[in-house]
Each structure stands twice: as C-alpha cells, then as structure tokens.
C-alpha cells in the first residue's frame, strides 16, 4: 500500500513538474491585464515577488510552495491595481500618452528612413521605375521596417532594449538627450541622402543649395519631431527631478 501511494506521488510529480519561471511569467501576464497598474508599478511588484520567493526558498520550501506563498503575500491583482491607482491617479494615463507620442514619433522617423531608402533605391537602380514608382517603394520599405521591429519584439530580442528604455524613462535629462540624438541622427542621415539625390538628379550644385534644401525639406520635419520630443520629456516621470538628498 505504501509502495503504491509512493508510486502515485511519483507519477503526479512527473505530470506536474513545477516550472518557476513559467509561473512567474503567468503571474506577470495576469498583472499586465490590470489597466490601472503602470509598467513601473508592475516591475516593482515583480521584484517584490522574486525577493519573497527567494526568501521562502532560503527557509527550505520548494519552488512551488515558495511561489504560491509569495503570490499570496503580494496580493490579488485587482485590489492592488485599485490601490495603486488611488495613490497616483494620473500615472497610468501619463504613461499611456507617453507611449502614444513615442509611437507617433517612431512612425515619423520610420517614414523619413523609408523615404530616403526609396530615393536611394531608385537612384541606384533606375530601371525599377519601369515596374513601380517611388511612393510604392516607400510604402514597401515602411512595411518592411515595421515587420523587422515586430519580429524583434516577438522573438523577445527586444527585452534588453525595453529594460534599457525603462531605465531611460527614469531620468528626464537622459531621456531628452537620447531622444534628441536619435531624431537628429535620423533626420540628418535622411536629409543627406535626399540632398545627394537632389544634386545628382535635379541640377547643378550651387553654394546656396544646402541652405535652400534645409529650409525646404528638413526644417519642418525637424521642428515637428523636436516638438514631439519636448512633449515626451514633459510626460516623463518627474520623481527624480530633484537631486536626491541622502542621509
């Protein structure tokens, strides 16, 4: 009889081998379903869960027991979300608008790069204009870039970038400098390509050419992108605005 129950136990254990990482992953998804928890809050709760799990493990509990106890300690996602929202009602919305503006800025930058890629492509292979035109190529490159980014995200290859982004978000100065650098790099790169194409195709080089070109083609998009960046900086969390005064 004893041998038999041991056998059953063994089967049960084999059937439900507990995967701690998968359990934490599930828990994280449950938390992410709470609309009133900002990503920073979720990250904080996850570090707490992991600390609590480690604490129980140190006391000799196995992975499964540690996980369930820690989960119980942290609490139910829904009441947690409600309490977090009460403490900081605007935080979640601030974060949402922040990501919306980021997406708009990213879309503009992608448009800039795809436009330049299309121009370069047509300049290098003029024969493609028999099959298609620059606008179609532009859209094609745009879609290709989106697919590339989506693939990176879906493959989980962006995890590191996301955590980098998250740490950028904590500091307005760092966020601002990074965003301005990205915008300037993309815009200057694209402007240089467009200018090259313009000189190559549309006429002789004149000393006033670059200024005329910048005035007509670059300044608008640059002003637009930099104003988006300033909105981003304004929306970034304010908690570290003051220099910390330590004990």
């Amino acid at each position: 009889m004893a041998g038999r129950s041991q056998h059953v136990e063994q089967i049960m254990e084999n059937q439900t081998r507990f995967d701690l990482n998968a359990a934490v992953e599930n828990w994280r998804n449950e938390l992410a379903a709470q609309p009133n928890l900002a990503s920073d809050d979720r990250r904080e709760l996850e570090t707490h869960l992991r600390d609590a799990i480690a604490g129980f493990q140190q006391r000799g509990l196995n992975d499964e027991e540690s996980f369930w106890l820690a989960r119980k300690r942290v609490g139910q996602p829904q009441p947690l979300g409600e309490e977090f929202e009460k403490a900081n009602p605007a935080k979640v919305w601030r974060e949402r608008v922040f990501w919306m503006v980021t997406a708009i800025l990213a879309a503009f930058l992608l448009t800039a790069t795809s436009t330049s890629l299309a121009v370069v492509f047509v300049s290098c292979f003029p024969s493609v204009e028999k099959i298609t035109n620059e606008t179609t190529l532009n859209i094609l490159f745009w879609i290709l870039q989106i697919i590339g980014i989506l693939r990176l995200i879906l493959n989980g290859g962006m995890n590191r970038q996301f955590s980098m982004l998250a740490s950028l978000l904590q500091n307005r100065l760092r966020l601002g400098i990074t965003a301005i650098c990205i915008v300037l790099t993309v815009e200057i790169f694209c402007a240089a390509i467009l200018f090259w194409a313009y000189v190559a195709h549309d006429g002789p080089y004149s000393p006033m050419g670059p200024f005329w070109f910048i005035g007509n083609h670059v300044s608008n998009s640059l002003i637009r992108d930099l104003s988006l960046v300033s909105i981003l900086i304004w929306l970034a969390p304010t908690q570290n605005r003051k220099t910390p005064k330590r004990a």
Partner: protein, 112 residues
C-alpha cells in the same frame, strides 16, 4: 494584531523612521517591520507600495531603480529633507498620544 485603521495611521511614521535610518526597498521594509513588531504589525505586501508612492508624491521620500549586489534591480526609497521634517512632527504627535496613555495606564512616560 493591530486594527486596519491603526495600521494605516502608523504606516507613515514607520516608513519615514525606517528610511531615516538609510535607503531601503519594499521587501526589506516589510521584513524589518515584521521583525521589529514581533509579528504584531502585519502589512499586506502589495499594499505597501501605494503607501510609499503616496509619500513620494507628497515629496517626503524619493525613489530610484538601482542594481543590488546580487545583480537584481530594485526600486530603492530614501527620505527627503521634507520627510525628515514630517518625521519630527509625527514623532511629537505619537509620543504625545503615548505619554497620555502611559499616564492613564500608569506606565513610565517617555521623554520627547
């Protein structure tokens, strides 16, 4: 065990006092309170964070994500100068309650 009201009221002086002794993070704070109170003050872990965030919004504490020695990132909280001032006020008020009760219960009062 403390009542819910008393837990809520005492959380501010407790958190400020702990952070006045040096920066700390959520899990460590909870462990410390549990240990110091001998299990009498039992906070629900997740609910500590809204309280911390409220104190942060009021400018009494500040926070920063930092990597611990173990390589794991944690959000550390530390007290601000406004927080120290608030702690002094809290201390005076709690000791006033304590001393009044002590006299009524004929326990030796504590000097403020």
């Amino acid at each position: 065990m403390l009542t819910k009201d008393l837990v809520a009221a005492s959380s501010k002086p407790l958190l400020l006092s702990i952070l006045a002794g040096g920066e700390s993070y959520g899990y460590e704070i909870i462990q410390k309170v549990r240990e110091l109170s001998g299990g009498q003050i039992e906070w629900s872990d997740g609910m500590l964070y809204p309280v911390l965030h409220r104190l942060e919004r009021d400018g009494l504490i500040e926070s920063e994500w930092k990597e611990a020695d173990t390589g794991r990132e944690r959000k550390y909280y530390f007290i601000s100068s406004d927080g120290r001032k608030a702690l002094k006020t809290e201390r005076r008020q709690w000791l006033a309650v304590h001393n009044t009760l002590s006299k009524l219960w004929k326990i030796k009062p504590v000097s403020i």
